[in-house]
């Protein structure tokens, strides 16, 4: 039952998912020439960046068999903080997002470890807290403007006239974290924690350190996304933004199991690409709003079906 020649199966899965992605791209561009226009490609990237960053961060937490519900709130809170400092700091303000995001992520980890409560509950609570803090910060103003050109340029100046700078940052970070996950000791350890906590502990690893780091990474990337959002939109508000579910979907539909120990940010990249292409494609084709969600759901299901690694069958929960 267990195919030891698993590599072939893996490759087949990735190919079929890529196939789905390419298929969608072809379909959409045929259905509407505007899809592959400059506007269309830019639209895809704008949708992609936040989902990708959040998904990659969430992936690290998932790898360690935990869950981070607060990424949406960190996204909002960090965008608020960034906008707050944009006028004083100019382009440097873009660092506020990642820095504060990492701190919030670390706090998540500490509540989880020191409170000894399931990460699900811990991050549910912090999700609520961070949302609350964001609303406190914007009291009275409702929208914080951050229109400085130099600041906004970090996100929206263009490379090769089709690629917004924020996309470049997102890809650099994504490639970096894919490398970390697959090629470094850190990544291997995080996988190990998700695969078997006890075994990892007994092998002499200080597991707490790594778990905290995973949450910090998740917060960090959510912070990057938040900062870039503030730059891109020229401001920030504390309105709840439903990005949690798409991010988790992107992280999980391309093969990182919710039980951790496998998958990785490369899967999240594929997942995020698919979601971004799908969303934009449906938008560009002026598909009726509510048919959109439906088609979205169906494609998600197909993607899930194509990418589930069914080698490790007995683990399915």
């Amino acid at each position: 039952m267990l195919k030891l020649g698993g590599r072939r199966l893996q490759e087949r899965l990735i190919v079929s998912n890529l196939g789905l992605l390419i298929g969608m791209i072809v379909l959409f561009s045929v259905a509407s020439p505007g899809f592959l226009s400059v506007r269309g490609i830019i639209a895809i990237q704008l949708t992609l960046v936040p989902i990708l960053l959040l998904a990659v961060g969430e992936t690290f937490v998932l790898m360690a068999r935990s869950f981070d519900l607060s990424i949406g709130s960190i996204y909002i809170l960090t965008s608020v903080f960034t906008a707050l400092f944009a006028s004083q700091l100019g382009p440097v303000a873009i660092l506020v997002g990642p820095a504060t995001g990492a701190i919030f992520g670390l706090m998540n980890g500490m509540v989880f470890k020191f409170g000894r409560i399931p990460s699900f509950i811990a991050t549910l609570a912090t999700m609520i807290i961070y949302q609350g803090v964001a609303q406190i910060v914007v009291t009275g103003q409702y929208y914080l403007f951050a229109t400085e050109e130099s600041f906004r340029a970090i996100a929206i100046s263009f490379v090769a006239s089709v690629i917004p700078l924020m996309m470049v940052w997102a890809m650099i970070l994504t490639v970096f974290f894919i490398f970390v996950a697959l090629k470094t000791k850190f990544g291997r350890v995080v996988y190990s924690i998700g695969a078997n906590y006890e075994a990892t502990r007994f092998s002499g690893i200080n597991v707490m350190k790594y778990q905290l780091a995973a949450f910090a990474i998740s917060g960090f990337l959510a912070g990057v996304a938040g900062g870039l959002a503030a730059a891109q939109q020229g401001g920030a508000s504390a309105l709840p933004y439903p990005i949690l579910l798409p991010a988790v979907a992107a992280a999980t539909i391309a093969g990182t199991p919710i039980t951790g120990g496998a998958g990785g940010p490369h899967r999240a990249l594929l997942g995020a690409l698919m979601l971004a292409v799908l969303t934009t494609g449906l938008n560009v084709n002026a598909v009726e709003t509510n048919l959109k969600t439906l088609i979205f759901g169906i494609v998600v299901i197909i993607a899930i079906y194509l990418t589930t690694d069914r080698r490790v069958v007995h683990l399915i929960k």
Partner: protein
């Protein structure tokens, strides 16, 4: 139906053949079981004995051969079908359901209901009756997860015999196959289980698979040896007594190799332990360079807790724990860094089972597989591969495929992977807690050889075990623990001169 010797036969299997692709798991195997006997079945991992059992209970269909149950042809469609004919199997870990109460577990699959409502009182009462009947020390209302491992095992055996005892079965006769019933149990618990088997023998015929040759010899009426898919012989223990060594020879197909272990006490002390008045133990001893010091103790003796304390997973209040003169840090990570390792027979807590052999071996051996790249610790696949191959060769892991997923390996090979990891790490001191639990004799031999070699090159070991054979083979010093204290220490000279029997007497006398 009777055999040539006049005994009544309960079950016979003739000419069983089973192939998995090209691999012939069972090669014309025959087996018979008499009424009211305990038949021990032994063999290496992969020898085919598990497959044979699965065929007997209908979990596998044979490619050829036939089975007769009480004189009638028997070909079970599935285990459930087999069970209704009076033959069932208790799986290796007991197939427990930890969150159920005992009576719920016992009746799982054949719950008694009045309409749609469970007749809990009835089931509870009948279970209590069963427990009392079989003298199992627990109550129907206890949760399975709260029972001691031995009691859990007994409960799963009781579950298998439920139909017979309460008369709910079609047939009165009953055959129960026990697959390694005492793996992971302490010796006290093992004797409890085997005593029960002796009691129940009057009503049930048993087939017991085990790697613990000595104990199996004590309890079996006859023993069948399976090797390479063939039945290489059935010994009648009433006719002629059999020694473990003889069995060993049959199982392996060759003589047992001798292990040479240095017995002289070393002058250099690598570990000093003075842990007085801890919660569960009170000991004081030292470990020399290149020594293998053994600890024997049953459950409650504190010996396993000692092991856990040494690696740092059990906190010690005060006391002296020094390695090479330096006090040991508190966490597991700190201890490992200071050169202490820990290996148990319970691979679930040590192995990443869905990972490859290679990745499990490298799990503690970061220094050997990393290269620094811009301040990042990168994994060098080539180095990792080399490490894996080197230690796979040393420990003789089969199949020799570094990418093989550990889940597909036999129990013995899984243990070897863990051992490979620690051998690669080369800790100065390796604490072994029942390292060969559930491992077949061939693998055990290899283990001992590896440990002896490693000790000869200067590494020290603390061996916590309940296998006297193992302890006397390897140790230069043996501490016997009871109630948390070392009550007797045997030095190498004494160990060499005493036989296993003598040591057993000493232990009984404690």
């Amino acid at each position: 139906m009777a055999s040539s010797s006049g005994e009544v036969l309960e079950l016979t299997a003739e000419g069983i053949v089973k192939r998995f692709g090209d691999f012939v798991a069972l090669d014309n195997v025959s087996l018979d079981l008499r009424v009211g006997e305990v038949l021990g079945v032994v063999g290496q991992n992969g020898s085919g004995k598990s497959t044979l059992m699965k065929v007997l209970i209908g979990a596998q269909k044979p490619d050829a051969g036939r089975i007769q149950l009480r004189g009638r042809p028997f070909s079970p469609k599935n285990p459930h079908d087999a069970e209704s004919h009076g033959i069932s199997m208790v799986y290796q870990d007991g197939a427990l359901v930890p969150d159920l109460k005992v009576y719920q577990y016992v009746y799982l699959g054949r719950e008694v209901t009045r309409g749609t409502i469970l007749h809990s009182r009835g089931m509870r009462d009948k279970t209590s009756e069963l427990l009392e009947n079989l003298k199992i020390p627990c109550s129907s209302d206890d949760f399975i997860r709260d029972l001691s491992p031995a009691t859990q095992r007994m409960v799963s055996i009781a579950k298998a015999s439920l139909g017979m005892i309460t008369g709910e079965n079609k047939s009165d006769e009953r055959i129960i196959i026990l697959d390694e019933p005492t793996a992971q149990l302490s010796s006290t618990e093992r004797s409890i289980v085997f005593d029960k088997v002796r009691e129940w023998k009057k009503r049930v015929s048993f087939v017991i698979i085990s790697h613990l040759l000595q104990e199996l010899i004590e309890i079996s009426d006859r023993m069948t040896v399976i090797r390479d898919g063939k039945n290489v012989g059935t010994l009648d223990l009433h006719e002629k007594s059999v020694s473990a060594a003889e069995l060993h020879k049959l199982i392996m197909g060759r003589e047992r190799r001798d292990i040479v272990v240095r017995r002289n006490a070393s002058l250099t002390k690598v570990l000093e332990v003075e842990l007085a008045k801890q919660r569960v133990f009170d000991v004081s001893f030292s470990l020399g360079e290149g020594e293998i010091v053994g600890f024997y103790g049953t459950i409650g003796s504190g010996v396993r807790e000692l092991g856990m304390a040494l690696i740092g997973s059990l906190r010690i209040d005060r006391g002296v724990l020094k390695k090479g003169g330096k006090s040991l840090g508190g966490s597991i990570a700190a201890r490992v860094r200071m050169g202490i390792g820990y290996l148990t027979g319970d691979h679930a807590s040590q192995l990443n089972i869905e990972w490859s052999v290679q990745r499990n071996i490298s799990l503690s051996n970061w220094d050997k597989i990393l290269t620094r790249f811009l301040k990042l610790a990168m994994i060098d696949s080539r180095k990792e591969r080399q490490l894996a191959e080197e230690y796979m060769k040393l420990t003789n892991i089969a199949p020799p495929n570094p990418d093989a997923i550990c889940m597909s390996l036999s129990g013995g090979n899984k243990q070897k992977v863990i051992l490979a990891r620690w051998l690669a790490k080369e800790p100065d001191i390796l604490v072994l807690d029942n390292p060969t639990a559930g491992v077949d004799v061939g693998t055990r031999e290899e283990f001992y050889r590896l440990l002896a070699n490693s000790a000869a090159s200067g590494k020290s070991f603390i061996l916590i075990s309940e296998d006297l054979d193992e302890l006397s083979t390897l140790c230069s010093k043996l501490h016997l623990m009871k109630d948390g204290k070392i009550v007797r220490s045997l030095a190498s000279a004494a160990l060499e001169n005493l036989g296993d029997e003598d040591i057993r007497q000493i232990i009984k006398g404690l």
